[in-house]
């Protein structure tokens, strides 16, 4: 997946808001790429353009060499919230997309959905209603839904942003195990530096709005990773490095704004 000088403007008064400007990056197949940036910088917009849910004002996104014009078959997406339908059971939620991605009959779809429920550890909650699940379980359903259609690219837009820190860590480890067993390309959007380092193979650090890529950072930690990865010495060092990078950017931005106002 390639972002080629993607720009996005939102109409607003008195002048349009620029969400993305010259946003470029190359994401290799099978890579776990993290787009890291401060809140509201436009990183979610980038991933939404990649998914075909929004169109770029300039530039383009290529998936497997073809420009994205609308929702892409090859992409599964996990949203921050509202990702699963509360009127369906866990199993029916997972089976929802199978109707379009496979030619299986209803029984086959349920059978297959059952596998994915088991993959995220929800085999005992198959017939549960979504509204009775905890936040972490809801996101597990969302992940199962996205994986069930077997996309080659998994887009994740701050999927653990609404979870408490304990649950978030469990979910991060769970995601690692799932992704380490597959060869999927993952694009993961977050504002959490530790999350980015724990999950990503490569981190694209974004500036504040309008977002563009400040730095590409390769994460050298070996797989399989777990919460213990966070205790490594180089984990701390990289965390500080990224922290300062983001801080410098926001200082520079503020200085520039103050200068302009004068």
């Amino acid at each position: 997946m390639r972002f080629r000088q993607v720009g996005k403007e939102f109409p607003a008064r008195p002048e349009p808001i620029v969400g993305l400007q010259n946003f470029s990056c190359d994401i290799a197949d099978g890579e776990f790429a993290v787009i890291l940036g401060p809140s509201g910088c436009g990183k979610s917009t980038a991933i939404r353009i990649a998914a075909g849910l929004e169109t770029a004002s300039s530039g383009s996104v290529l998936v497997n060499g073809r420009p994205v014009l609308g929702p892409v078959r090859d992409c599964g997406m996990v949203f921050q919230a509202y990702a699963s339908f509360p009127w369906l059971s866990v199993l029916d939620n997972i089976a929802f997309g199978l109707r379009y991605s496979t030619s299986l009959d209803q029984r086959g779809r349920r059978e297959k959905a059952r596998c994915f429920a088991a993959m995220v550890g929800l085999e005992e909650f198959e017939s549960a209603s979504i509204s009775t699940l905890s936040g972490g379980m809801k996101q597990r359903v969302a992940i199962a839904c996205a994986l069930a259609t077997e996309p080659s690219i998994l887009l994740m837009d701050e999927p653990f942003g609404a979870l408490d820190s304990q649950t978030r860590l469990l979910m991060q480890e769970h995601l690692l195990t799932i992704v380490e067993q597959s060869n999927k390309t993952v694009i993961f959007v977050t504002h959490d530096i530790e999350e980015a380092l724990l999950l990503g193979d490569r981190i694209y650090v974004c500036s504040s709005r309008p977002a563009h890529v400040l730095a590409e950072i390769d994460v050298p930690f070996p797989h399989p990773r777990s919460h213990l990865t966070r205790d490594r010495r180089d984990f701390f060092e990289m965390k500080h490095q990224i922290f300062h990078l983001l801080r410098e950017d926001s200082y520079a931005r503020r200085l520039a704004e103050a200068y302009e106002r004068k």
Binding site: L53, S84, F85, W87, F96, Y100, S129, C145
Partner: protein, 269 residues
């Protein structure tokens, strides 16, 4: 005592407490009423004493056959309202789903909605004669234009995120209507039915007060003519009870059909 019978006992106690709480205002109203009538020596023409009411109600059912009027009225409300539901639901959903449809129909609906329903009564009598059909048309007119806009609101309140989630799982655009919009909006649409059927009852009585020979509204007008004040009160109470019953049915159906969309309120048990 086994655990299940214990929990059944506490749930029974909780339910009876809830009932008592809801019954209290009724009891207070009865006390106030009796106090007014006997304390201030109010003439029974203005406010009939409560103790004559059971006898009056008995005569209404046994001698005057009020049950027939009730059934006729229920039939009229049910038909008029169901036709309104059948037309307003798909139309309102389409208006909430597509901007084009809402631009097309919003102005006319907003316009007709403000026309006073009683004005339609002479016209409907002219067009349909004064029978069941005409009463249903009045109820339809009263309910439909309100309901369409309420259904439209319910459809529009469906978060865009649901459509996006369905799209990302491969659903084509025309599947979103039945697989996302319909199930997502249904609980709130059902709520609008519940509110709207209350108005349907009002329009029924309005319709039956003019040019009717059966129905509760007609009964009230007849009682008025002969100054049968207790009967007027009794008929009003009857309508209140029917309304309460309808509301209860809707509430029970809502929680059975849409357990995932239960209303939460602060301080609930």
């Amino acid at each position: 005592m086994s655990e299940s019978s214990l929990s059944r006992a506490t749930s029974w106690r909780r339910r009876s407490r809830k009932f008592l709480l809801g019954f209290t205002p009724f009891a207070l109203l009865a006390v106030l009423w009796t106090g007014l009538v006997h304390g201030l020596k109010i003439s029974p023409v203005f406010l009939p004493p409560l103790e004559v009411m059971p006898g009056v109600v008995w005569r209404m059912f046994v001698d005057e056959g009020i049950l027939h009027d009730v059934l006729v009225s229920v039939y009229r409300v049910a038909c008029g309202f169901l036709i309104a539901v059948a037309v307003a639901t798909p139309l309102g959903m389409m208006m909430g789903y597509s901007r084009w449809m809402s631009r097309l129909f919003d102005p006319i609906m907003g316009f007709v909605r403000y026309m006073p329903v009683p004005v339609f009564i002479p016209l409907t009598i002219l067009w349909f004669q004064s029978g069941d059909k005409q009463k249903m048309v009045v109820i339809f007119l009263g309910a439909f234009f309100q309901l369409v806009l309420m259904v439209e609101d319910a459809a529009r309140a469906v978060p865009r995120d649901y459509y996006e989630a369905a799209t990302m799982r491969g659903a084509p655009r025309w599947h979103l209507f039945f697989r996302v919009l319909w199930p997502a909006a249904l609980p709130q649409i059902f709520d609008s039915y519940r509110i709207c059927i209350g108005w349907a009852w009002t329009y029924l009585v309005v319709a039956e007060i003019v040019g009717a020979s059966t129905g509760i509204g007609y009964y009230i007008i007849k009682a008025q003519r002969y100054l049968l004040i207790p009967q007027i009160f009794a008929a009003m109470v009857l309508i209140g009870l029917l309304g309460m019953l309808t509301d209860l049915l809707f509430a029970v159906a809502h929680s059975r059909l849409f357990p995932w969309a239960e209303h939460s309120s602060p301080g609930s048990e």
